[in-house]
Structures are given as C-alpha cells and as structure tokens.
C-alpha cells in the first residue's frame, strides 16, 4: 500500500490504489485542498457538489493571503511601490486568463463578478444596442437561469422575442431544430457549453458555424465547461465567452467576460465610474480603452490574483489530464450509480462532463440529500437554477453529484453506499 493510501481513513482504503486519470496522482492532488481533510457528521467529507462551486487549493488561498499581507493597494492609479506591484499582479492574472482561453489579446479579457454578471453585461450593452422590437434572441432548453433571465429582461424591454431550441429525452440539443430557429430576426445566440443540470456537452463549434453563416454573434456560457474542458476561444470562433472563477478552483466573486475586441469596442459601457474613463468633464466623458472601459470602480483585485493562481494550478496539472481523469470518473460513476435498483438518470447525452443527475424510486431528492449529508457526502438537490430543464423532464428536482479533479473512485463507491442507506430508510 502506498503512503498516500495509508493516510486515508479505513473506509476509503482501497485494496489496490489506482489513479483514475493516467497523469493525475489524485491522492497527491487531494493534499493540495485543505478543506478535503475535514470530517462532516463524523465521516470523511466526500465533496460532490463541484458544479455549484469547487474547493480551493492552498496556492489560491496563499495568493489571496499574500496579496492582503504584502501587496494590497489600489491599481492603475498609484505612483507608489505597492500600487505598481498590485497592478502588475492584476494585469499578470489577465494575461494568464488570456493564455488559458487562447484569446488573441489580453484586452479582450474583462473581469466581472462571475458568469451571471458577464451575461448581463452583454445583454445590457450589446443587446440593448443591437436588439430591437420584433428581433429574436435564441437560447436552448438547457440553459441555467443566468442565461435565460438577462435575455428575458432585454426582450421585454425591447419588444423582442426569446426563442428556445428544444432538447431530446437524453438531454441533447436538437441541432436541426436549432438551425431552423436561426433567422434574419435572430440578433444573438446564447448557449451553454456544458449543462449544469444534465452534464450535456453541447456542439458549440457547430452552433457557432451555423450562426455565423447568418452573421449572428454567439455567446457561450462556459461556467460548467471551463473547469472540465480545454477551451480555445479563437478555435471556437465564439464572439463572447463567460465563466466564473469559483468553479475553476478560484475565489468567489470573480469571473471573466471574453469578447472579440471589435464587438467590445463598439459596445457602450456597462457601468460608469472610476477607471473606465480617459477624461471627464461635465460636458463630455471619453471612455477608457479596452478592457478598462468595462471595469468601472475598484475591481476585486484579490479575486483576480486568486483566479490567476487557480489557472496556474490547473495549468500545472494540465487541462487534458484533468479532463481525462474526470471523464473516466464520470463513466465509473454512471456505471456504479446505474446499477442501484430504482435509479433513473436525468441527462444521458453521449457527450457529458462532470455531472450525474438522478432520481431514486419516488424518493424526493431533498430527502436523498439529507441522508447522504449524514454520511458526509455533499451533493446538490433541487432544480439547479434550471427550472425549464426540470419542466422538460416533467420533474420538480433531481439529485446531482458533480465531479472535480480531486474526486476518486472511492468517493463514487461511498456515494453508492450512501444511496443504499437512502433505500434502507425509505424501504
């Protein structure tokens, strides 16, 4: 038995320690995440709610701490040492994000609070400028509320129409129906890359090709994709890409809007204030250049630096390795959970990432969640901020296990054992 395995509590000590992904030493990786060491209700924590938020490695926690202990200053405005240093760190993180997504230029990376704010920004600036009465915004039936409601607000204000491309019973986008909904009135397409409720990976490449044939810009919601898949915004050709830092092992309250510079340049500002201006008089204000035009006020400097550290951490492991590990783990979880009598999987698309949504007999997911919690297992239960997805499947809620780079096969086994307990309680 390896040293790593000896440190595990007895219940998690496998006879033969094997790492799911070939290149990820999962036991070593787990030691990078201090929160995973704790016990919950007397049991070793099994954290399977990563689609809600991921845990943070020590390097991210240290980066934030170091910033406040050593570097804290306002950025872009001071002549003093600390301000210069904080600005360097902040802009350095922007370049890390740029290279992570292979954006053409660092000025195309706008720091926002999260994917939700990024979508609202695009709806309120690009949308309000380009969507008019009678126009259409096209989304899919598997969007998170954050990629529905901002467009509804826009459509209501403009007298425009929100169109929704349907999905199949397995949770796959019906691409032919999607294409039929693209028309001369479509002014923007907004689509998730990975469904948070179903785990479906959508064919964004083809969606973008179809939309671009009609010169329609595409926003890709990468909140669930960025932690699991290698993303190259230039190869995709998407016009906007949004994601939240806290789902990629970074801090909460920081996220990114990527936009093609030609589009961002033409868009009006989202919020007015300090840092987003070049000059202000009471008669006229000249806006700052990209990306600062969209970053009014003192930004979440610590968050940006923490996000930079998270991206470095992920790069160190390799996105391909992470994807391979998670892919193998999801396959194992799907197989293991499917073997439990009375299980119904919600979301059985061929291409999936990170998410296993399910129902067990007629037991309400909330009850499943409470019983698993007593076993130290954290899952999400409910509608996952995707009520239209629940309506599509005629259900009120699901139980959802979602995986990250530090999850193990043993944790999947613990989940399956926990589900047996659920069945016993409700026998």
């Amino acid at each position: 038995m390896t040293t790593a395995a000896k440190r595990l509590p007895r219940e998690f000590r496998p006879a033969d320690v094997r790492d799911a992904g070939a290149e990820i030493d999962v036991q070593k990786v787990r030691r990078d995440f201090p929160i995973l060491r704790q016990r919950v209700h007397g049991r070793t924590l099994v954290y399977l709610d990563n689609a809600a938020t991921s845990q943070k490695p020590q390097v991210v926690i240290d980066a934030i701490r170091r910033y406040y202990e050593r570097d804290n200053a306002n950025i872009h405005r001071g002549v003093h040492f600390l301000s210069e240093h904080a600005t360097e760190e902040y802009e350095g993180a922007r370049r890390k994000v740029q290279s992570f997504f292979n954006a053409a230029d660092a000025s195309e990376i706008i720091f926002v609070r999260g994917a939700t704010e990024a979508i609202n920004l695009v709806a309120q600036t690009y949308g309000r400028t380009n969507v008019h009465a009678g126009d259409e915004v096209l989304i899919t039936a598997m969007e998170h509320h954050s990629n529905i409601v901002p467009w509804q607000i826009l459509c209501e204000e403009k007298g425009a129409r929100l169109r929704v491309a349907p999905i199949s019973d397995s949770g796959e986008l019906l691409l032919e129906d999607f294409e039929k909904l693209l028309g001369p009135r479509t002014k923007i397409v907004a689509v998730t890359q990975v469904s948070n409720a179903l785990g479906t990976i959508t064919p964004v490449q083809r969606i973008i090709e179809m939309a671009h044939r009609g010169n329609i810009p595409v926003l890709v919601d990468g909140a669930q994709a960025a932690p699991h898949l290698k993303v190259d915004v230039q190869a995709l050709g998407c016009d906007f890409y949004v994601f939240s830092g806290h789902k990629v092992y970074g801090p909460t309250g920081i996220g990114v809007l990527y936009g093609k510079s030609a589009l961002l340049d033409a868009m009006p500002p989202y919020q007015g204030g300090g840092d987003m201006i070049s000059s202000v008089t009471f008669e006229k204000t000249i806006y700052n250049k990209l990306p600062y035009k969209f970053e009014a006020g003192t930004p979440h400097v610590a968050g940006v630096i923490g996000l930079g550290a998270a991206i470095e951490y992920v790069n160190g492991l390799g996105m391909d390795n992470i994807a391979a590990h998670e892919h193998e783990l999801l396959a194992y979880a799907t197989e293991t959970v499917s073997a439990i009598p009375g299980i119904r999987l919600i979301g059985t698309a061929k291409e999936k990432a990170g998410v296993l949504s399910f129902l067990l007999d007629s037991i309400h997911p909330h009850d499943i969640g409470t019983i698993l919690d007593q076993e130290g297992i954290a899952i999400r239960t409910g509608h996952h901020c995707a009520q239209p997805v629940m309506q599509r499947f005629g259900i009120a809620a699901t139980a959802r296990a979602s995986f990250a780079l530090y999850n193990t096969r043993e944790e999947v086994d613990a989940l399956a054992e926990g589900m047996q307990k659920v069945r016993e309680v409700f026998a």
Partner: protein
C-alpha cells in the same frame, strides 16, 4: 443513523407514502398555494370553513417526505378545529421544529405531530416541515397569492 431515524420516523415515512386527505375539496371556500422555490415543493391547501371552524381540510401537490407528511398530518389534526385552535397548534408545531419547544413541555396538543421533533436537528428542513402550515395560514386569511418559504 440515529438523527436520521429521529427525522424519518415511521409515521412520517408512512404518511409521505400514503398521504391522508390528499384530494381537491369540492366544497372548499378557502384555498391557497404554497411554494418552496429552493427545492420546488408545491402544495395547495383546501379549506371548508363554517364560521370559525374548519369543517374540512385537504391538500394536493408534490414535495419531499417531510413536507408531504407534515401536510398530511396537519389535515388530520386540524379537522374540526377552530381558527384560534389551528393558530395555536401551528405556533406549537413551529416551536417544535425550530427547537424552541422544551423537551418536557406541553406537547399534548400536538398529538401525532410530535413525530416532527427530529426536524429541529436539521435546520434546512424546517421550511419543508412548515410549508403546508404557511399555506394553511394564507388560506385562513383568504390571501390569493402564492405563499413562499423564501
């Protein structure tokens, strides 16, 4: 498992599987809907009020074991009671599930509803246990809008 057994007592499991008074009430003169947006639980409570007393009470909807059993046991315990009595039972029930009821306190009036004492160990489940009761409260007051636990 002890806390869990305390929460999911046999009576609760049994009522969640076979809820009593689970139907629309054709003679209802008061009704209200209750919704817990967090978990999607949704109930309608129907009341047949004669003057001040609850002649009949039924419910319909979907929810977790705790919320459904609570609704079922609520209808059983309140049938024939007056508004004032119903209010008092709700008050005691609320104290019970939020852990404000002394263990040796007067639970006699709660009767079977005492099985929900385990809920106090699970703060996030208090909303489940009280959803039907808040809905009843709205129905008694004749409020038309959907009540929400949020």
């Amino acid at each position: 498992m002890s806390d869990l057994r305390e929460l999911y007592q046999e009576v609760i499991l049994e009522h969640s599987k076979a809820p009593r008074n689970y139907r629309e009430l054709s003679t209802a003169n008061h009704r209200a809907e209750g919704y817990n947006p967090l978990c999607g639980d949704h109930f309608t409570v129907y009341l047949d009020l004669e003057g001040d007393s609850i002649r009949d009470i039924t419910f319909q909807g979907s929810g977790c074991a705790i919320s459904k059993a609570s609704a079922s046991l609520m209808t059983q315990s309140l049938k024939g009671k007056t508004r004032a009595e119903a209010d008092r039972v709700f008050d005691q029930f609320h104290k019970l599930v939020t852990g404000q009821s002394p263990a040796n306190g007067n639970r006699a009036e709660l009767g079977k509803l005492s099985v929900f004492s385990g809920v106090s160990e699970f703060p996030v489940r208090v909303k489940c246990a009280t959803l039907a009761w808040h809905t009843l409260h709205a129905a008694l007051q004749g409020k038309q809008q959907t009540v929400s636990t949020e």
